[in-house]
Symmetry: C7
Subunit: 95 residues, 7 copies
């Protein structure tokens, strides 16, 4: 990955429904069109961001559940990613 | 439970109306369709979240009353959970 | 009372119009349908709540006037209570 | 007065138009229906309120001009009072 | 002047168009109906106001330009004044 | 200039299109009616303004680009000026 | 470049679609009309901006992805630039 997100931002790659089923996570009906599970591929430095201290709690490789209303989508080398603030990540799915 | 909520977030499992009656808590008419009682199944680390200090006051196993307008719903291994900020939890029902 | 409100929240029990008259407090016409006087039945710990220091100024047994637009209503063992933030309490009626 | 307002709140008693004229204060036309002059009858403790330091600048007996859009009205022993935040008081009329 | 404004508030007396012309200040067409020049007649103590430090930069007698959308108007002994926050004052016209 | 802006405010004099062309700055079509280039003619003291520290980064004589949606316009001795907060200044054009 | 952006602002020059393809970054359909990739040409000093500490994380020459809803466009010596706050920059594309 050649992208370094700024501040409290995180780059994630959405995990499609098939993979989601394998990990045992199934999303409720209303959310099916837009999956909420993803893998972290890059994290910002955190620290002082806009005058507030932000502690980064996720790391590259983490599986996360994220709020589908946050973030910007970009395509890099043909793969779609989402850049969002860490606060839009709800939880880490521990293995 | 294999989910670790971030920051000041808490994962809860709603308690259905039948169980609610047993513990002596009955919700008023207007709120009946969407129960507000739940059990805490996972809690975030708290600490500095978005530049503000958050102290976690609930623990796994606590019975709580929560504001029905907060939180995101997810289904894990066939069970529905709600991930919400601790501030959306109104009170702990002490046993 | 088996409910412990979180942070700066307080649990109150509304006092009906008849009792209100006895204590000498009468509410103006516009507010008559929804009495604003209540008794405190449980208080949160205060301290650091959402990054701000909150000092609890009310105690169990206090008679209070509260803003009728704040709070959530719950019924416990057949009795209705309101859970609200201390900031929605306007004043303590001293005896 | 048997009411102790919380935090940065103040209890005031409005002064009717007749008295207002005596003190030499006359309000402009647009504000005539709702007088803005009052006497302070009780003050909160100030200090740390909702995480911010508030210094109380008014005292019982002060004549004040207040913003007519703030505050809650209550009737105690047949007398109407207004409970408002000190910040809704514009100025003290010094004698 | 027998009015002491609270906190970061200032009492000003508007200067009519004729006087304005004398001091060399002329306001653009759109603002003509509501003059923006005034003289300071009383200032609050500043200090800690609503948890934030406010430093008073104007003094009684200063000629100021103020934002016409801020402030409350009152009439004292037949004279109209405006009570506004210091932040609604744009600049001091130095003599 | 006989105007001293308060706090983080700055007084600027807009530079007309002809002069703008000379300095090599040309604004895009959409902004042509309302030029965004100006010269600083007076600056506030900065310091603590409304509880936040503000550091003044511009000085009298600086050429600046400013956001056309901020500020108040005044005419002094027949010349039009704009009083705006420093934060509405986007950049200094260095010579 | 003869422009020094104030505070936490950054001046960027958008990179057209052709160049974007070369670097391997392709934006999704919805964003095609308004490219989001750019090169940093000037950065502000950061430090205390509007009372909050801002740490500048980008430098002149960086390739960045930025939020297309932030910033002001200006044309200097015939070239179009965008002045935006660093927080509107999502990520740096590392070479």
């Amino acid at each position: 990955m050649n992208i370094r997100p700024l501040g409290d931002r995180v780059v994630i790659k959405k995990i499609e429904a098939e993979e989601t089923t394998k990990s045992g996570i199934v999303l409720p009906e209303a959310a099916k069109e837009k999956p909420q599970e993803a893998e972290v591929v890059a994290v910002g430095l955190g620290g002082i961001v806009d005058g507030k201290e932000v502690r980064i709690e996720v790391k590259v490789g983490d599986r996360v559940l994220f709020s589908k209303y946050g973030g910007n989508e970009v395509k890099i080398d043909g793969v779609e990613y989402t850049i969002l603030r860490q606060d839009d990540i709800l939880a880490v799915i521990e293995k």
